[in-house]
Amino acid sequence: MHVGVQGMGTSKIEMEFLRRHGVTHMNAGMADHEVETLVRHKEEAAVFGVSVEATHISLPRSITLAQDPQRDEDIERVCRWIENAGQAGYRALFYNFCILDHQRTAATLGREL
Protein backbone atom coordinates (compact mmCIF):
# COMPACT_ATOMS: atom_id res chain seq x y z
CA MET A 1 0.00 0.00 0.00
CA HIS A 2 1.10 3.55 -0.60
CA VAL A 3 0.10 7.13 0.15
CA GLY A 4 -2.24 8.74 -2.36
CA VAL A 5 -4.51 11.70 -2.87
CA GLN A 6 -7.74 12.73 -4.54
CA GLY A 7 -9.32 16.11 -5.16
CA MET A 8 -6.29 17.57 -6.95
CA GLY A 9 -5.50 18.28 -10.56
CA THR A 10 -2.25 17.67 -12.41
CA SER A 11 -0.87 21.22 -12.67
CA LYS A 12 2.85 21.83 -12.07
CA ILE A 13 2.17 23.33 -8.63
CA GLU A 14 0.05 20.38 -7.57
CA MET A 15 2.48 17.81 -8.92
CA GLU A 16 5.48 19.42 -7.23
CA PHE A 17 3.51 19.60 -3.97
CA LEU A 18 2.76 15.89 -4.15
CA ARG A 19 6.25 14.84 -5.14
CA ARG A 20 7.97 16.69 -2.33
CA HIS A 21 5.72 14.93 0.17
CA GLY A 22 6.30 11.49 -1.29
CA VAL A 23 2.92 11.09 -2.99
CA THR A 24 3.32 9.21 -6.27
CA HIS A 25 -0.21 7.83 -6.79
CA MET A 26 -3.40 9.78 -7.21
CA ASN A 27 -7.03 10.06 -8.18
CA ALA A 28 -6.99 13.16 -10.38
CA GLY A 29 -9.85 15.59 -10.66
CA MET A 30 -10.82 16.51 -14.23
CA ALA A 31 -13.44 18.38 -16.21
CA ASP A 32 -14.85 15.41 -18.13
CA HIS A 33 -14.30 11.71 -18.71
CA GLU A 34 -13.36 11.66 -22.39
CA VAL A 35 -10.44 9.43 -23.34
CA GLU A 36 -8.30 12.40 -24.41
CA THR A 37 -8.83 14.13 -21.06
CA LEU A 38 -8.11 10.99 -19.07
CA VAL A 39 -4.93 10.35 -21.05
CA ARG A 40 -3.80 13.99 -20.83
CA HIS A 41 -3.96 13.98 -17.02
CA LYS A 42 -2.06 10.71 -16.89
CA GLU A 43 0.64 12.16 -19.12
CA GLU A 44 0.88 15.45 -17.22
CA ALA A 45 1.35 13.63 -13.93
CA ALA A 46 3.77 11.07 -15.34
CA VAL A 47 6.22 13.89 -16.14
CA PHE A 48 6.56 14.34 -12.38
CA GLY A 49 6.64 10.62 -11.60
CA VAL A 50 3.05 10.58 -10.33
CA SER A 51 0.69 7.79 -11.43
CA VAL A 52 -2.92 8.77 -12.06
CA GLU A 53 -4.74 5.52 -11.41
CA ALA A 54 -8.27 6.72 -10.81
CA THR A 55 -10.72 9.57 -11.11
CA HIS A 56 -14.06 10.41 -9.56
CA ILE A 57 -17.34 10.27 -11.45
CA SER A 58 -20.46 12.03 -10.22
CA LEU A 59 -23.55 9.94 -10.83
CA PRO A 60 -26.42 11.83 -12.45
CA ARG A 61 -29.26 12.31 -9.94
CA SER A 62 -31.67 10.38 -12.16
CA ILE A 63 -29.79 7.22 -11.15
CA THR A 64 -29.99 7.65 -7.38
CA LEU A 65 -33.48 9.14 -7.48
CA ALA A 66 -34.74 6.44 -9.92
CA GLN A 67 -36.12 8.97 -12.39
CA ASP A 68 -37.24 6.99 -15.41
CA PRO A 69 -36.81 7.00 -18.34
CA GLN A 70 -33.83 9.37 -17.88
CA ARG A 71 -32.13 6.84 -15.59
CA ASP A 72 -31.33 4.29 -18.32
CA GLU A 73 -29.89 6.96 -20.58
CA ASP A 74 -27.64 8.19 -17.76
CA ILE A 75 -26.54 4.68 -16.86
CA GLU A 76 -25.50 4.27 -20.50
CA ARG A 77 -23.44 7.43 -20.10
CA VAL A 78 -21.72 5.98 -17.03
CA CYS A 79 -20.95 2.83 -19.01
CA ARG A 80 -19.21 4.97 -21.65
CA TRP A 81 -17.14 6.63 -18.89
CA ILE A 82 -16.08 3.17 -17.68
CA GLU A 83 -15.07 2.17 -21.19
CA ASN A 84 -13.10 5.40 -21.55
CA ALA A 85 -11.33 4.80 -18.24
CA GLY A 86 -10.41 1.30 -19.32
CA GLN A 87 -9.12 2.54 -22.65
CA ALA A 88 -7.00 5.19 -20.89
CA GLY A 89 -5.53 2.59 -18.54
CA TYR A 90 -7.22 3.66 -15.30
CA ARG A 91 -7.38 1.13 -12.49
CA ALA A 92 -10.53 2.48 -10.84
CA LEU A 93 -13.42 4.91 -10.88
CA PHE A 94 -14.59 6.34 -7.57
CA TYR A 95 -18.24 7.27 -7.11
CA ASN A 96 -20.88 7.99 -4.50
CA PHE A 97 -24.29 6.37 -4.47
CA CYS A 98 -26.09 9.07 -2.50
CA ILE A 99 -29.86 9.36 -2.47
CA LEU A 100 -29.32 12.14 0.06
CA ASP A 101 -26.11 14.15 -0.26
CA HIS A 102 -23.42 14.22 2.44
CA GLN A 103 -24.71 15.93 5.58
CA ARG A 104 -22.73 18.15 7.93
CA THR A 105 -23.11 20.78 10.62
CA ALA A 106 -20.90 23.91 10.62
CA ALA A 107 -17.10 23.45 10.55
CA THR A 108 -14.82 24.03 13.54
CA LEU A 109 -11.05 24.56 13.66
CA GLY A 110 -8.61 21.69 14.21
CA ARG A 111 -7.10 20.87 17.62
CA GLU A 112 -9.82 22.95 19.30
CA LEU A 113 -8.12 26.29 18.51
Binding site: S11, I75, I82, R91, R104, G110
Partner: protein, 202 residues
Protein backbone atom coordinates in the same frame (compact mmCIF):
# COMPACT_ATOMS: atom_id res chain seq x y z
CA UNK B 1 -20.95 21.14 17.77
CA UNK B 2 -24.03 22.69 16.19
CA UNK B 3 -27.35 20.89 15.93
CA UNK B 4 -28.41 19.06 12.77
CA UNK B 5 -31.87 19.53 11.26
CA UNK B 6 -33.10 16.00 10.68
CA UNK B 7 -36.71 16.97 10.05
CA UNK B 8 -36.66 18.79 6.70
CA UNK B 9 -37.00 16.42 3.77
CA UNK B 10 -34.65 16.73 0.78
CA UNK B 11 -35.58 16.55 -2.92
CA UNK B 12 -35.37 12.76 -2.50
CA UNK B 13 -38.41 12.71 -0.18
CA UNK B 14 -38.99 9.61 1.94
CA UNK B 15 -36.96 6.59 0.80
CA UNK B 16 -36.88 3.20 2.51
CA UNK B 17 -33.77 1.04 2.88
CA UNK B 18 -35.32 -1.56 0.58
CA UNK B 19 -35.87 1.07 -2.09
CA UNK B 20 -32.30 2.35 -1.66
CA UNK B 21 -30.90 -1.15 -2.24
CA UNK B 22 -33.24 -1.67 -5.20
CA UNK B 23 -31.90 1.50 -6.84
CA UNK B 24 -28.30 0.46 -6.16
CA UNK B 25 -28.91 -3.00 -7.59
CA UNK B 26 -30.53 -1.55 -10.72
CA UNK B 27 -27.41 0.55 -11.29
CA UNK B 28 -24.82 -2.09 -10.41
CA UNK B 29 -26.41 -4.84 -12.52
CA UNK B 30 -25.99 -2.60 -15.54
CA UNK B 31 -22.54 -1.05 -14.98
CA UNK B 32 -20.50 -3.80 -13.30
CA UNK B 33 -20.52 -6.12 -16.35
CA UNK B 34 -19.03 -3.22 -18.33
CA UNK B 35 -16.47 -2.61 -15.58
CA UNK B 36 -15.48 -6.27 -15.68
CA UNK B 37 -15.05 -6.18 -19.42
CA UNK B 38 -12.94 -3.00 -19.19
CA UNK B 39 -11.07 -4.16 -16.05
CA UNK B 40 -11.98 -0.98 -14.14
CA UNK B 41 -12.71 -1.27 -10.43
CA UNK B 42 -15.87 0.57 -9.37
CA UNK B 43 -15.17 2.00 -5.91
CA UNK B 44 -18.25 3.22 -4.08
CA UNK B 45 -17.82 5.72 -1.27
CA UNK B 46 -19.98 5.41 1.81
CA UNK B 47 -22.86 7.80 2.42
CA UNK B 48 -21.64 10.38 4.89
CA UNK B 49 -22.61 10.00 7.69
CA UNK B 50 -24.22 6.60 8.18
CA UNK B 51 -27.40 6.74 10.28
CA UNK B 52 -30.70 4.86 10.39
CA UNK B 53 -32.57 7.71 8.67
CA UNK B 54 -31.53 11.23 7.67
CA UNK B 55 -34.11 13.74 6.45
CA UNK B 56 -36.48 10.95 5.48
CA UNK B 57 -33.92 8.76 3.70
CA UNK B 58 -32.94 5.42 5.21
CA UNK B 59 -29.21 5.04 4.59
CA UNK B 60 -28.06 1.89 2.80
CA UNK B 61 -24.77 1.91 4.72
CA UNK B 62 -26.33 1.61 8.16
CA UNK B 63 -25.86 -0.52 10.20
CA UNK B 64 -22.37 -0.13 8.76
CA UNK B 65 -21.17 -3.73 8.57
CA UNK B 66 -24.53 -5.13 7.53
CA UNK B 67 -25.22 -2.37 5.01
CA UNK B 68 -21.83 -2.64 3.33
CA UNK B 69 -22.07 -6.42 3.24
CA UNK B 70 -25.47 -6.27 1.53
CA UNK B 71 -24.28 -3.60 -0.91
CA UNK B 72 -21.14 -5.58 -1.75
CA UNK B 73 -23.23 -8.68 -2.47
CA UNK B 74 -25.74 -6.98 -4.78
CA UNK B 75 -23.57 -8.18 -7.64
CA UNK B 76 -20.77 -10.73 -7.46
CA UNK B 77 -17.69 -9.25 -9.08
CA UNK B 78 -14.06 -8.44 -8.24
CA UNK B 79 -14.66 -5.08 -9.92
CA UNK B 80 -17.38 -4.07 -7.43
CA UNK B 81 -16.11 -2.68 -4.12
CA UNK B 82 -15.55 0.35 -1.97
CA UNK B 83 -13.73 3.62 -1.68
CA UNK B 84 -13.73 2.96 2.06
CA UNK B 85 -13.64 6.03 4.27
CA UNK B 86 -12.50 5.14 7.77
CA UNK B 87 -14.00 8.38 9.04
CA UNK B 88 -17.44 7.78 7.55
CA UNK B 89 -17.56 4.19 8.76
CA UNK B 90 -16.57 5.33 12.26
CA UNK B 91 -19.34 7.95 12.22
CA UNK B 92 -21.91 5.17 12.05
CA UNK B 93 -20.53 3.04 14.90
CA UNK B 94 -21.41 3.09 18.60
CA UNK B 95 -17.78 2.39 19.49
CA UNK B 96 -15.45 3.03 16.55
CA UNK B 97 -12.30 2.22 18.52
CA UNK B 98 -13.57 -1.32 19.09
CA UNK B 99 -15.49 -1.94 15.88
CA UNK B 100 -13.75 -0.32 12.92
CA UNK B 101 -10.79 -2.67 12.42
CA UNK B 102 -13.05 -5.73 12.27
CA UNK B 103 -14.99 -4.10 9.45
CA UNK B 104 -11.79 -3.18 7.61
CA UNK B 105 -10.59 -6.76 8.02
CA UNK B 106 -13.87 -8.27 6.80
CA UNK B 107 -13.97 -6.31 3.56
CA UNK B 108 -10.19 -6.34 3.12
CA UNK B 109 -10.07 -10.12 3.24
CA UNK B 110 -12.77 -10.24 0.57
CA UNK B 111 -10.83 -7.83 -1.69
CA UNK B 112 -13.61 -5.26 -1.59
CA UNK B 113 -11.37 -2.31 -0.67
CA UNK B 114 -10.19 -0.37 -3.74
CA UNK B 115 -9.21 2.81 -1.90
CA UNK B 116 -8.92 4.01 1.69
CA UNK B 117 -9.76 7.43 3.05
CA UNK B 118 -7.47 7.33 6.06
CA UNK B 119 -9.08 9.78 8.44
CA UNK B 120 -10.25 9.84 12.01
CA UNK B 121 -13.07 11.20 14.14
CA UNK B 122 -13.85 11.81 17.77
CA UNK B 123 -17.20 10.40 18.88
CA UNK B 124 -19.40 8.01 16.92
CA UNK B 125 -22.99 7.46 15.85
CA UNK B 126 -25.14 10.63 16.05
CA UNK B 127 -22.40 12.82 17.54
CA UNK B 128 -18.91 13.10 16.09
CA UNK B 129 -16.25 15.58 15.05
CA UNK B 130 -13.74 15.16 12.23
CA UNK B 131 -10.22 15.51 13.66
CA UNK B 132 -6.57 14.92 12.78
CA UNK B 133 -5.60 11.26 12.37
CA UNK B 134 -3.60 11.15 15.62
CA UNK B 135 -6.23 12.73 17.90
CA UNK B 136 -9.34 10.72 17.08
CA UNK B 137 -10.86 7.75 18.85
CA UNK B 138 -9.70 5.17 16.31
CA UNK B 139 -6.14 3.82 16.54
CA UNK B 140 -5.03 4.53 12.98
CA UNK B 141 -1.87 2.49 13.52
CA UNK B 142 -4.10 -0.53 14.06
CA UNK B 143 -6.06 0.30 10.91
CA UNK B 144 -2.81 0.34 8.90
CA UNK B 145 -1.74 -2.96 10.48
CA UNK B 146 -5.07 -4.50 9.54
CA UNK B 147 -4.75 -3.30 5.95
CA UNK B 148 -1.22 -4.69 5.79
CA UNK B 149 -2.37 -8.03 7.16
CA UNK B 150 -5.17 -8.45 4.59
CA UNK B 151 -2.76 -7.61 1.77
CA UNK B 152 -4.34 -4.29 0.82
CA UNK B 153 -2.30 -2.96 -2.11
CA UNK B 154 -3.74 0.40 -3.12
CA UNK B 155 -3.75 4.01 -1.86
CA UNK B 156 -4.17 5.34 1.68
CA UNK B 157 -5.19 8.97 1.37
CA UNK B 158 -6.21 11.86 3.59
CA UNK B 159 -9.67 13.34 3.34
CA UNK B 160 -11.43 16.25 5.05
CA UNK B 161 -8.37 17.72 6.77
CA UNK B 162 -9.20 20.21 9.55
CA UNK B 163 -8.75 23.72 8.21
CA UNK B 164 -7.34 26.98 9.51
CA UNK B 165 -7.69 30.52 8.08
CA UNK B 166 -3.90 30.86 7.83
CA UNK B 167 -3.53 27.63 5.88
CA UNK B 168 -4.40 28.67 2.33
CA UNK B 169 -3.63 27.03 -1.00
CA UNK B 170 -2.03 29.05 -3.81
CA UNK B 171 -4.54 30.58 -6.20
CA UNK B 172 -5.75 28.50 -9.11
CA UNK B 173 -5.05 25.05 -7.69
CA UNK B 174 -6.82 22.59 -5.41
CA UNK B 175 -7.55 23.86 -1.89
CA UNK B 176 -5.78 20.73 -0.71
CA UNK B 177 -2.36 22.16 -1.59
CA UNK B 178 -1.77 23.26 1.99
CA UNK B 179 -0.16 22.44 5.33
CA UNK B 180 -3.06 20.30 6.51
CA UNK B 181 -2.63 17.89 3.64
CA UNK B 182 1.17 17.90 3.88
CA UNK B 183 0.82 16.95 7.55
CA UNK B 184 -1.50 14.08 6.70
CA UNK B 185 0.72 12.82 3.88
CA UNK B 186 3.61 12.68 6.33
CA UNK B 187 1.47 10.86 8.87
CA UNK B 188 0.45 8.25 6.30
CA UNK B 189 3.97 7.79 4.91
CA UNK B 190 5.29 7.23 8.44
CA UNK B 191 2.48 4.81 9.28
CA UNK B 192 3.09 2.70 6.19
CA UNK B 193 6.81 2.60 7.00
CA UNK B 194 6.06 1.57 10.57
CA UNK B 195 3.72 -1.31 9.77
CA UNK B 196 5.94 -2.63 7.00
CA UNK B 197 8.94 -2.53 9.31
CA UNK B 198 6.98 -4.41 11.99
CA UNK B 199 6.23 -7.16 9.51
CA UNK B 200 9.86 -7.36 8.40
CA UNK B 201 10.94 -7.69 12.04
CA UNK B 202 8.65 -10.67 12.74
Amino acid sequence: MSQYDNETLSEAGVVSREEAFARAAYFLERVIPVAEECKVQMACHLNDPPAPVLRGVERWNWPVQEGLKRFSELVDSPYHGFNFCCGVAAEGLENPAEELCDIVRYFGERKKLFNIHYRNIRGGLYRFQEVWPDEGDVDMHEVARTLRDVGYEYMLMPDHAPSHPDDQAPEGVSGRVNQAWAFQFGYIVAMIQAVNKERAAR
